[in-house]
Amino acid sequence: MAPTRPLDPDKLYRKLDPASLPFKTTEELETLSDAFGQQRAVEAVKFGIGIRRDGYNMFALGPTGMGKHNFIRRHIEAHATKEPVPSDWCYVNNFSEPHKPKVLRLPAGFGMRFRDEMARLVDDVKSAIVGTFESEQYRARREAIENELKERHEQAFNEVQNHAQEKNISLIRTPMGLGLAPTKDGEVLPPEEFRKLDQTRQDKIKADIASLEGELANVMRQAPNWQREFRDRIRALNREVTESAVRHPIDELRHRYQEMTQVLPYLTEVQEDIIENADEILAAQQPEAEGQQQPSQMQVGLRRTLQGPPVLRRYQVNVVVDHRGDAGAPVVYEDNPTYVNLAGRSEQMAMFGALFTDFNLIKPGALHRANGGYLILDARKVLLQPYAWEELKRALRSRDIRIESLAENLGWSTTVTLQPEPIPLSVKVVLIGDRMLYYLLAQADPDFSELFKVAIDFEDRIERDGDNLPLYARLLGTIVKQESMRPLDATAVARVVEHASRLAGDNEKLTAHIRSIADLLREADYWAHQAGRDTVTRADVQQAIDAKRYRADRIQVDSLEQITQGTVLIDTAGAKVGQVNGLSVMQIGELMFGRPTRITARIRLGRGEVVDIEREVALGGPLHSKGVLILSGFLGQRFGEAHPLALSVSLVFEQSYGGVDGDSASSTELYCILSALSDLPIKQSLAVTGSVNQRGDVQAIGGVNEKIEGYFDVCRAQGLTGDQGVMIPASNVRHLMLREDVVAACAAGKFHIYPVESIDQGIEILTGVEAGTLGPDGKWTEGSVNARAAARLAEFAERARRFGPAGADRKEDTT
C-alpha cells in the first residue's frame, strides 16, 4: 500500500477570502426580512397556515436559538393581516340560571359599544323608574289601591263594629290586635261597674261577645287574602308603570341591534328582569330615602367593592374579547401558558369572609384572545404547567373554550362556581419546541398526531455556497442593525462565516443557530468598543471567540496540566506494543474539548473473547460496547476462519474513571489489539480516532476538530517534534475547521493529519510495517502485520488444542 500523505493545510480549514465579498462593511447591505436556508420550514408554515382543517396545528421543531419564534411570528403575522377580524365576545347574565352566564357574539368592535350602551340604558332606566314611581300619577294610582283595600278592611271591621255597637259592645284597637268589650257612653265599661251588673246581664254580655268573636274571626281570616290581593295589584301596577318607563329606551337599543340575533333575546330578558325587580332597582337608588333603613356596613362595603348596587350588576356586559381597532386576525403569544392563562378563569372577591363571583368576574385566557386567529406557545412551558396540555388538547378537539374551575374538576372543591357558556373556538396553534420533545410527544401521546399534523422542521445547517453566502452576510448585517451594534467589515464577516462552519461542524456548511451567531456579534462588538474601533474587524471576532473559550476552559486547562505534569500518562513520542493514544471529546456546558486517553490491549490464551474492561465495570455505554463487538467481529472474520481464536483480549481506557460511550475509538482499540498480536510497537507520537466496521473500514466520528486540537495542545505542551499528528477517518476531512495555530503547525510540518480509510492503511501508519494482503494460498504477506498476527493466533490455537477443554495442566500464556 502506498504511504499515506498527511493532509495539506488548505484541507484543514476552509477560509473565506474577504476580498471576495462585494462590500466593505455590513452597513452597505440590505436588511434581510426573511429567513433563508429554511425552505422546508417556509413551505411547512405556508401549508399549515393555508390548510383549514381540524388537526392541522403546527409544531416548529429545532434546537433553541434557531430563531424559530421570530420566524413563525413573522410568517403568521404577514398572513394574519390579510384575514378578517374575528368577532367580539361578551358574557352577560343568565337571568334564569345566574351561575351559567350566557355568551354573546358580536361583530368586531361592537363589544365595547354594546357594553357602553347597556350602561347608558341602565342609567336611563334608573332615572325613568325613579321618575315614574315618584310621579303624581303613580302615587295616585297606588293610593287608590291602598285606599280601596283600606276601605274594604275598614268596612268589614266596621260592620262588626256596628253589630257590636248594637249590643253596646265595642271593637277596640289593642297593641297586638283587636279587643271586644262592653261600653257605656262611648267608653269601655269599668270593671267594677261590670261586676255590679246582675248575672243575667253579665251572661248576656258574654254571649254577645262570643257571637261577635265569630264574626270578627271571619273578617280576620280574610285579611291575609286582602293583603295578598293588595300586593298582587300593587305588583301589577308596578309592572305596568315599569314597563312603560323602560320600553322606549330598550326599544331604541333593540332597533340599533336588530341585525344581531343573539342580542335581541337578551334585551327581552333584560326588560323582563327590570320589570320584575323594579322595586329593588328603586331601592338601590334611594338608600336613605324616607321610610328606608340605613344601609348596613356590609351593604356599603358590598356596593363599594362591586362598584355599584348589586342589583344593577346584572345588566352589565363583560367584554372578554374586544377587537376594536384591530386589523386582521389576532396573533397571540402566551409566555406563561398556565391552565388559567390559556382557558380563562372566573375570579372571586372575598367579602366579609365569603367568596363572591358573577359573570362580570370572568377573565379571558389566551385561547379567547387568539380565537379566530393564531396562538403561539412554547411546548415545554405548556407541558410543565399542570393540566395546561390536557386543556389545550381538549379545547382543540371539542372546538370550544370552557372556563371551568380546575379545583372543582379535580374534586378539590365542592363550592358552587360559575359554569359560563362555552365559546366556539377556531384557532391555529403553533407549538415551538426542540426535536426530542416533538418525537416524544409523537410517540407517547396519541392525541398529538391527531392535533398537530404539521411539523415545521428547521435546518440546523445551511449550505455554504455562493447563493447563501451573500444572504448570510445580510443576516449578520441585519442583526447588528437591529441591535444597534457596530457594523462588521469584510474581514469580520469572513471570520464569522468561518466560525459558522466550525459551529456547523462541516466546512461546507454554515450553522443556522442564530443565537450563537448573534452572541458572537455582540461580543465582537464589545471587543471592538474596547479597542476603540467604529467597525468590527476580524481581530475583534477572533478576540470574542478566544475570550469565550478562555472563560470556559478552566477544566480543559486542568486536564492538560494533569497530562503535562505526568499525573495522567500520555506518551507523545516513542513506540509501544499494545498501546495507542485514543481521543475523546468532553462537553461541559457549552465548551467541547478533546483530550487523549491511553488505550491498551493485553492478550492471552483464551476462548476468543474481547473483554472490554469499561463494560465489565459498567463504565462503558452501549455504543462503546457495540464498537468492541464489531472489532471482535472483524478479528473473527480476518483471523478466525482457519482456526478458532484461542485468545482473550482485554481492552481498557487507562486512567479513565468517568464512563465512556460511543464507538469513535473502536479503530483505535483494534490497532491496539493488532499491535499486541503482531508484537509490533505503535508510534506514540500519533493519536487515533475513528470507528471501524466488521470489514475493517474506518468510519466517520464526531468532534474531529476538538480531538485534533486536544492532542495538538498536549504535543505542544510537551514539545512538538515534527513527528506528531492525528489519524482521522477520511470521511471526516470535510468536517475540518481547525484552529489557526494547528493549521500553522501543520503548514510548518510540525504536526500532521492523516486521513485513513481502512484498518490496514492505519496500522501501516502507526507501525511503519506493511499491513499485508491475503494470498490465494491463505497466507498473509510475509512479515506483514497481518501475517505476524495470524502466526500468533495460530500459535495460541495450537496451545489451546494441546491443553484441551478438560486439560488439568492447562496454563495461561500472557503477553
Binding site: 293610593e143 275598614e154 297593641p175 268589650a181 269601655v188 270593671p191 261590670f194 321610610g291
Partner: protein
C-alpha cells in the same frame, strides 16, 4: 283667621314628647331629644296609658284577637301595656343619656288625646308620635328616626301662634337642611296671597326658603290628605290653632302617620 304678626321668635325651654312604642313613637322620641339638645331645653317623656285599654284588660269577659297569632284573654293586654311603657322608658332614658339631655319620664293614664293635652300643657313644644289607633286595620309604618326634620310641613294662617310655629319649623328644617312646606290657610285667595308674602318675609329673616301651598278654608281631612300626599316628615301646628278644637286633635292623631309637633 287671626291677626297677622310681623316677627315671631321661639323660646323653647321645655319639650314634652308623648309617644308609644310604635315606629312613629320612636321617631318622635328621637326627634324630641335632638330638639332638646339643639334648643338646650328640658325634655319630658310622656306615656299615656289608654284608659279604655286598661279597662279592657281588667274585664273578665273581654278577649283580644291578634292580627298575627291566636286569640287570648284580655288580661294579657295589661302585660302588653306595662311592657310597652317599660320599653319606651328604657329607650327614652338611654337616648337622652347618650345625648346628654336633661330628661324625665312619666306614665299617665286617661284618654289619649286628653291626656296628652293635659299632661303636656305647660310645655313650649309638644311632640307627639303615636300609632294610628282609630283605624281598626293595622298599617305598616317604617321607622324614620332621623327624618323628622327632613320635610316638615307647617300650617300658617297669619296668627301669632302660627308665626311661632313657622319660625320653629323653619329652624327645624334649616338645622337639618330639610325641605320645608308651608301650608297657607286663608278664607280667600287674596288673603292667601297676602299671608304668603308675610310668611315669606318671616322666612327671609331667617334666610330660609320654603315651598308654599295655599288652602282656602281647608278641612282637617283635606289637611291630613295633603300631609300624607306630600310625604311630610312632621306636621308643625300652633297649639291655639282652631283645627285642634272639637276632636280635631284626636283626628290628627288618628289620621296622620307622621309625628305632630304642637307649638305653644
Amino acid at each position: 283667621m287671626r291677626t297677622p304678626t310681623r316677627r315671631a321668635s321661639v323660646q323653647v325651654r321645655r319639650i314634652v314628647v308623648a309617644a308609644d312604642a310604635s315606629a312613629p313613637g320612636r321617631a318622635a322620641l328621637d326627634a324630641a331629644i335632638r330638639l332638646a339638645q339643639r334648643l338646650e331645653a328640658e325634655l319630658e317623656g310622656l306615656y299615656v296609658e289608654d284608659i279604655n285599654l286598661k279597662r279592657l284588660a281588667e274585664l273578665p269577659v273581654a278577649r283580644e284577637f291578634r292580627f298575627a297569632g291566636a286569640a287570648r284573654d284580655a288580661a294579657a293586654i295589661a302585660e302588653d301595656l306595662r311592657n310597652e311603657a317599660m320599653r319606651l322608658r328604657r329607650a327614652f332614658e338611654e337616648a337622652a343619656s347618650r345625648a346628654r339631655v336633661q330628661a324625665s319620664f312619666r306614665v299617665a293614664e286617661g284618654q289619649i288625646e286628653h291626656g296628652i293635652l293635659a299632661e303636656g300643657g305647660a310645655a313650649d313644644l309638644l311632640v307627639i308620635g303615636l300609632e294610628r289607633r282609630r283605624s281598626l286595620v293595622p298599617t305598616r309604618i317604617a321607622a324614620t328616626t332621623a327624618a323628622i326634620a327632613s320635610r316638615p310641613m307647617v300650617l300658617y294662617d297669619g296668627s301669632e301662634g302660627s308665626a311661632r310655629a313657622l319660625a320653629l319649623a323653619s329652624r327645624l328644617a334649616a338645622d337639618d337642611a330639610g325641605a320645608l312646606t308651608v301650608v297657607i290657610r286663608a278664607a280667600t285667595e287674596a288673603e292667601a296671597l297676602k299671608l304668603r308674602r308675610d310668611a315669606a318675609r318671616i322666612l327671609a329673616e331667617r334666610d330660609h326658603g320654603a315651598r308654599f301651598r295655599s288652602a282656602v278654608r281647608p278641612s282637617l281631612f283635606d289637611l291630613c290628605r295633603a300631609v300624607t300626599a306630600d310625604g311630610a316628615s312632621a306636621l308643625v301646628i300652633a297649639s291655639d290653632d282652631e283645627l285642634l278644637e272639637g276632636g280635631g286633635f284626636r283626628q290628627l292623631l288618628d289620621d296622620l302617620m307622621c309625628p305632630v309637633i304642637v307649638v305653644r
